[in-house]
């Protein structure tokens, strides 16, 4: 019964009542009447001698295969192949030298293809395991990249405003040694050291403040104050205090990460239930035993929350701080100097490195959290 309601692939071609597909087919059909683009000054239609009909046939075959597949997942994969083929068409046409900016038939066709992707994702997101947790977000990201590439190149957006991803990738490859040196300076030196010091200090002071209540009372309002300080305010001061090298970046990171860690650790330490604490007391367990065997395990979800927030803050802090003085290497330094030289490909490549680093850092922490707090109710079902 539920299958009848939720399965968009339940219909075969024989019972043509899949209204979702019909709604997608209508704009696709309308698109066929509109031009694909302009080649050598002449408007080119769908059947004007390009390879477009071959792509079209491929997509139609994929959709037909999807609609008549016995299982809806198989249908989804077949439709996904159709979507991929549809989005490859503009890339092919661009390589043929077409100007797509007036190719409304193509754009309308791509809208239909995107709607089809939406449908596919809806099905895949309902699948358990890897499909849902890895394939769906991966497809989503890939879709965004392809869309970016096609739109930027199709409408000839100037690279100075927004280069296509392929160009950023090329810049990444061409400047790999420089980018690696920047990465080593900013991430492996400044960020890691500052992060460990900031989070470590926040954690330890929290343990202390938990034992000495007036410390917590005094520090928590300061935490609000500190979180309101802008990085651009403290970064120049830290550069004056600690010099151009990694020490000043680490200092900025410590200032930014200390309080989030402190506050999360304190909240985590207060997370044990009275009955759990009473149990420890009934065993005549002292402060240290209670801390290690009960309160810290209970605090783990909070600790990870702090660590995850701080992973992003640390990266931002280091990059921004490098704007205010650095040895001639580092991601922040690279961005500030290459922007001034209008070398935007490198800027974008650096941004890509920063984004990948940030998500990798966060992702590693999230995996670690899952492993160590698999017992927590918020982790159990997933």
């Amino acid at each position: 019964m539920s299958d009848l309601v939720t399965n968009p692939y339940r219909t075969s071609l024989r019972s043509a009542a899949d209204w979702g597909l019909v709604a997608i087919a209508l704009p696709a059909l309308a698109a066929l009447a509109l031009p694909l683009g302009v080649q050598n000054g002449a408007v080119l239609g769908w059947f004007g001698g390009s390879m477009a009909p071959l792509f079209l046939i491929g997509v139609v075959l994929a959709v037909v295969a999807g609609a008549s597949a016995p299982k809806r997942v198989w249908g989804a994969w077949a439709e996904l192949a159709g979507v991929a083929l549809a989005w490859l068409l503009p890339l092919h046409l661009l390589n043929e030298g077409l100007d797509l900016s007036a190719g409304w038939g193509l754009w309308l066709f791509l809208v239909a293809a995107t709607l089809l992707l939406w449908r596919v994702m809806g099905v895949l997101a309902g699948m358990p395991g890897w499909t849902r947790s890895v394939v769906v977000p991966g497809l989503f990201g890939l879709g965004l990249l392809v869309g970016w590439e096609v739109l930027v190149r199709g409408f000839q957006v100037p690279a100075i405003l927004l280069p296509p991803p392929s160009r950023i990738a090329a810049a990444l490859a061409a400047n790999a040694p420089v980018l690696w040196d920047d990465f080593r300076q900013t991430v492996l030196t400044s960020v890691l050291r500052g992060y460990v010091m900031g989070c470590g200090a926040g954690f330890m002071v929290a343990i202390l403040a938990d034992r000495v209540p007036f410390l917590a009372r005094g520090l928590l309002p300061l935490g609000n104050l500190a979180s309101a300080i802008p990085v651009v305010g403290i970064a120049p001061i830290m550069v004056m205090w600690f010099g151009f090298d990694w020490q000043s970046k680490a200092a900025v990171i410590v200032v930014m990460t200390f309080f989030p860690m402190l506050i999360n650790t304190l909240a985590g330490l207060g997370n044990s239930e009275r009955i759990q604490l009473d149990l420890m007391r009934s065993y005549a367990a002292g402060y240290g035993r209670t801390l290690v065997k009960l309160r810290l395990p209970n605090a783990l979800p909070f600790l990870f929350n702090g660590l995850k927030i701080n992973s992003t803050l640390a990266l931002i802090g280091a990059i921004v701080a490098e704007f205010f003085g650095t040895p001639v290497v580092g991601m922040g330094f690279r961005i500030s100097t290459e922007v001034a030289r209008m070398n935007l490909d490198i800027v974008w490549a650096t941004i890509a490195v920063a984004a990948l680093t940030g998500s990798g850092f966060y992702g590693a922490l999230a995996v670690l959290e899952r492993v160590t707090t698999a017992w927590h109710p918020s982790m159990r079902q997933r």
Binding site: R281, S282, Y283, A284, K293, H376, P377
Partner: protein, 287 residues
């Protein structure tokens, strides 16, 4: 569920000593002695008198139930015995010591109203927790945990996590955890309060067999009359506002070995009637 034979050599010896009091003259026969015990909780609006002039003596090997409507101070009394709460006035002595000394010597095992298992520990490691804190060697810890889990009928669940177990099983784990300490005194606060009647009957039978086999002194909080009569050698009837003892009923007319059938006996009915009358008396103060 299976009923393992709860007899075990070490504890069986203890129980023989317990019943043969002349032989163990070193230990007094009184385990808990409370005199004019009062406790007032200082709350924000007005102080709550949870216990008022409570006198209570618990003898070795007794199974004492505290019964009364909720809010009459049953939990508070148990917590005072366990040194989880300090009385405002009066005296209390546990095995000739203050409650704090008794707690620091780990003389009692406490079973809370909720299982209070640590979700990051497996069933077995939950039972091993008190033993870790006592500093017992790993091999012995594991042996004792297995033994107690077997005793409560949970062999084979050692590697499960608490949330993978039913409520009744979780509560049995928490009983195994209290037993792992091998305490002479077992304090239980409505351990089966949240369970359905069938599971509850089952666990009651289990508990009374365990008590007979080990000779432990038990203090058991409940608000079920049937449960109290079925398990106890003595029943303490309490009433609220302020929490005090109305009646202490001896259950000598029932055999020490309790089977489910005794619930149909006239002696059982007579004691249950007396408990019910006692509880009624307490309530007349309200109206």
């Amino acid at each position: 569920m299976t009923f393992p034979n709860p007899l075990d050599v070490r504890e069986a010896t203890a129980s023989r000593q317990g019943s043969d009091r002349a032989a163990s003259s070193a230990k007094s026969s009184v385990v808990v002695e409370a005199r004019k015990l009062s406790l007032v909780y200082p709350t924000a609006d007005k102080p709550v008198t949870a216990l008022s002039e409570v006198d209570l003596t618990i003898a070795r090997g007794d199974f004492v139930s505290l019964i009364g409507p909720s809010g009459c101070g049953k939990t508070t009394l148990l917590r005072v015995i366990a040194d989880l709460e300090r009385p405002t006035s009066g005296h209390i002595v546990i095995e000739g010591m203050t409650p704090e000394q008794a707690r620091l010597k780990r003389l009692y095992g406490y079973v809370f109203q909720a299982p209070a298992l640590y979700p990051w520990r497996t069933v077995e490691r939950n039972v091993m927790l008190p033993l870790e804190i006592m500093g017992i060697a790993r091999a012995e810890r594991q042996a004792r945990a297995r033994e107690q889990l077997e005793r409560v009928g949970l062999s084979g669940f050692e590697r499960k996590f608490p949330w993978q177990l039913s409520g009744g099983m979780q509560q049995r784990v928490s009983i195994a955890r209290a037993l792992a300490l091998q305490p002479d005194l077992l304090l239980m606060d409505e351990p089966f309060g949240a369970l359905d009647e069938i599971t509850r009957d089952h666990l009651n039978l289990h508990l009374t067999q365990l008590w007979r086999a080990t000779g432990k002194t038990c203090v058991f909080v409940t608000h079920s009359i049937a449960e109290a009569v079925f398990l106890s050698t003595r029943i303490v009837v309490m009433s609220p506002r302020p929490g005090r003892i109305l009646d202490v009923i001896d259950c000598d007319s029932l055999p020490r070995e309790r089977k489910l059938e005794i619930r149909e006996s006239p002696e059982f009915a007579a004691i249950a009637h007396r408990v019910r009358e006692g509880l009624k008396e307490g309530h007349s103060y309200d109206d």
